[in-house]
Amino acid sequence: MSEIEEPAGPRRVIGTPSPAPVAVDTAEKPAEPPLVTDPPNKAHASRAERLVAALFVLAFLAGCGFIAAYIGLEVGSSNIPAGASAVDAAFRSNLALGLALSVILLAIGTGSLIWVRHLTPNIEIEEERHELKSSPKDRAAFKAEFADGAAISQFTKRPLLRRTLLLATVPLALAPLVLLRDLGPLPGTSLRYTVWRKGLRAVTLGGLNPLRPGDFQPGSMITMIPQGYQDDANALAKAGVILIKFEPGQLNFPDRYSGSTLIASMNWSIDNSLVAYSKICTHVGCPVALYEQTTHHILCPCHQSTFDATNGAWVIFGPAARPLPQLPLMVDSDGYLAAASDFPQPVGPSFWERG
């Protein structure tokens, strides 16, 4: 092998005279000598040729196999025998087609590599490199021609034309931005409100059942949504709440102020044991879905903001900057849990206009 890995060909600079004495008194560049075209070791090359050909034949056979697998292995529940698993059929087809395709591609790739490494002479050639900068003469000529053109165009001599043309293009440049206005409604105050209102019943996300305060045990957490909005993704993305029940005396709502604004002491629990927090993380809006019963910590699985459920959902770790807003609760005339009002503050991620 080693004998063919050494550079076998001559090294020369394209565009310069070859080592042999040639007449250089003409304007034409001397003809470049032809490159060596045969590999140094012919016996080795013949062996390599047979190997490459075998690989190409293998690729051909695998290609036939690919077509056969495509025709022979049906997928989709309507095409396979009743009772057979469509998932298994898809995976079987994937395995067969993928194997065949892998063999085709890798055989052609390997064959091509052996071809270029063992069947061609290892020739290195050399090219001249010139500084990229143009000669001062060319630069000067360019400048002169450009200045001539500018003078002919009158662009420099007639500022009125120049300025009015600029003026004309300003609204044109803004037009595409203006056209983007109707991509969506303006935010307005929509981020401040959810669909919750006084008396709107909370139902479970899973079964859409309303709940009575006594329906579930202390220590449990359940996701609730406003009744009638189960198909409204936009409403759910803001209005989902988690309802948590505590043993009496576990809940503790500290007074917390930001400046002069009371931000977390609103105790809207029922019987001081049942409380509803927004399920939308105040960091970037993931659902805060993990609840640890022993510590009463609510954890956002996305970025691990951790809220203390017994303590006004105060942030105890992670990037969220604000507690989860509390949904004021009441019990309606039929004894079911309902909202006493909308959230007292915007839910979800912070935004500039939030204040």
Partner: protein, 564 residues
């Protein structure tokens, strides 16, 4: 010389003639065929990105035949029976359809996804190679900037691509994206409402991401790749510092037939490897995640790898939020969104110009540096890799906590400290290692290579036998070029112009940077030493060779002419 000349078939000859009659191409294409491509394995990294992109275009077109970019709700009844009767978007249903009802659909989907991940890996690897060898230096700064733009476009393209199926995992990612957008000061809510057509999730985002993903960004990427390749072609490729390579030549194998054959082999290898992955390594099994609903989430939600740095940056932040003149500035979102990628992308974009400013070196460079010979650059690059890597790993802190049984908050605290301390430490350690390797090179030049034979001297002492360096080994070591030290502060030149480092605060900073860049291990004069170099000094740079050690007279001439 060949045994027999290849006879060009008449038909091909005729066709060539037909085109040449019309386009006058014989001369130009002939030059093209002899275009020299220098050879080094790291020059294939960019090519991986190129071929991955070609594969992405091919497989993506196929997927677009079947994918329905709509959030119109349907009730699923199909091959994936576990989701029968479940309400889902057409986007999700059509992705199930591609996976289970189209023969080869799953294979093409998985090749497409693997190719996207490989595309980004290759861009990063290529970028690191270019950085650590200094291949971005004049005249290649524009191509460096195009490359950074391609990396950024690739990230957005990937994010939008994996969000299209509207599954639970990518929907959570989209929610995070929307929440971050909403947090941008002043324009954030408007950006979010315009992109999503109102509140999250709305019905507009999937078709909008689709047209951006299949048309707008691929078009930009294609245009920029074309420009990237054209500039590379026009300026000619850089080459590695080996004997025979100079700033005035390009040594390698010609385009025809070598590069054609090698390119063909490489394309099929990459495509084949992706096919193997798609066959045996399942990726993004959206059917297991279920359709997106805004109130569900799974733990261990990680984005595709190239978005991991943003995820980690979000996770590492303490809960900082300030009220600015009655407005909410949510730093725990804004800092992770803007700072890490800002440091890396802006830093990378400015680096070539910073280096020129600090070293005063405005000359062209076509021979790549060995990383050890540019300690400041190598140290900075390793620091950036550490910074990126720590944030990236923090993006999977829950997975790390689970696998290594370390408390989650402990991991986050380690990352919070490490992301500042480790890059700084890595810079200094790397710089010292580089200088140590330079010292090793110097000892090779002055003493030669130890060959493992120990001789006892007549007086009883021991010496180890050494052999002189081969011309190849010496050529590599001799490729070292150290930037000129700027004149010291307060030293006017012959025309009375004060030294750059005397000009204000910036001048002072430039002086400091220049001292760091010019720190080197000097080689004693006349290192053609007692071990005998029969052919004297075969400089790989020819007459331009700037010897080892700062401030040799031969070097000042090289910079001087370029300054104006």
């Amino acid at each position: 010389m060949s045994d027999e000349a290849v006879k060009i078939p008449k038909a091909l000859d005729g066709l060539g003639g037909w085109f040449d009659d019309r386009f006058h191409g014989a001369r130009g294409v002939r030059v093209l065929m002899r275009k020299v491509f220098p050879d080094h394995w790291t020059f294939m990294l960019g090519e991986i990105a190129l071929w991955s992109f070609v594969i992405l275009l091919l497989t993506g077109t196929y997927l677009a035949f079947f994918f329905v970019p709509s959030t119109q709700e349907v009730v699923y009844h199909g091959s994936y029976t576990k989701l029968n009767g479940i309400q889902m978007s057409q986007a999700y249903a059509s992705t199930l359809n591609i996976s289970f009802d189209i023969r080869g659909g799953l294979l093409i989907r998985q090749i497409h996804h693997w190719a996207a991940d490989l595309f980004m890996v290759a861009i990063f690897a290529h970028m690191l190679r270019v950085f650590f060898t200094g291949a971005y230096r004049k005249p290649r700064e524009v191509n460096w900037l195009i490359g950074i733009t391609l990396l950024l476009l690739g990230m957005i393209e990937g994010l939008f691509g994996y969000s299209l199926p509207d599954d639970q995992l990518s929907g959570a990612g989209l929610r995070i994206f929307q929440g971050v957008l909403q947090g941008i000061p002043i324009v954030g809510t408007y950006l979010a409402f315009f992109l999503f057509g109102g509140e999250f999730p709305g019905n507009s985002i999937v078709p909008r991401m689709y047209i951006i993903h299949v048309f707008l960004i691929p078009g930009l990427i294609l245009a920029l790749i074309t420009a990237h390749l054209f500039i590379m072609f026009w300026q000619k490729h850089t080459q590695m510092p080996v004997l025979g390579n100079t700033e005035r030549n390009v040594v390698g194998q010609p385009f025809w037939p070598y590069f054609v054959l090698k390119g063909q082999a490489w394309f099929f290898f990459i495509f084949g490897s992706l096919a193997v992955l798609a066959t045996f390594a399942q990726i993004n099994p959206v059917w297991l995640y279920g359709p997106y609903t805004p109130l569900a989430i799974s733990s261990a939600s990680q984005p595709d790898w190239y978005m991991g740095i943003l995820e980690g940056a979000l996770r590492i932040m303490p809960s900082w939020e300030i009220n600015f003149l009655g407005h909410t500035l949510t730093l725990s979102v804004l800092i992770p969104f803007a700072v890490p990628l800002g440091i890396i992308f802006t830093g990378a974009a400015l680096w070539p110009f910073f280096e020129q400013w600090a070293t005063g070196d405005r000359s062209e460079h076509h021979i790549n540096d060995r990383p050890r010979n540019a300690p400041v650059r190598t140290g900075t690059g390793v620091a950036a890799v550490c910074f990126y890597g720590i944030l990236w790993a923090e993006g999977a802190n829950d997975v790390l906590a689970d696998n290594f049984q370390v408390p989650l908050y402990t991991i986050t605290w380690i990352a919070r400290i490490a992301v500042i301390v480790v890059p700084i430490g890595a810079y200094f350690v790397t710089k010292r290692i580089c200088l140590g390797l330079q010292r090793h090179d110097t000892s090779l030049l002055t003493h030669g290579v130890e060959i493992g034979i120990i001789k006892q001297l007549p007086d009883g002492g021991y010496v180890e036998e050494e052999r002189p360096l081969t011309p190849e080994e010496r050529g590599k070591i001799d490729s070292k070029k150290v930037p000129l030290a700027l004149p010291a502060r307060g030293h006017p030149d012959d025309n009375g112009v004060p030294a750059p480092s005397s000009r204000g605060v910036m001048g002072w900073a430039r002086g400091v940077a220049n001292r760091a860049f010019t720190e080197t291990v000097a080689v004693p004069d006349g290192h053609g030493n007692g071990h005998g170099h029969p052919d004297g000094h075969e400089a790989i740079e020819g007459p331009e060779h700037a010897g080892v050690g700062a401030g040799e007279p031969g070097e000042s001439g090289e910079h001087g002419g370029e300054e104006q």
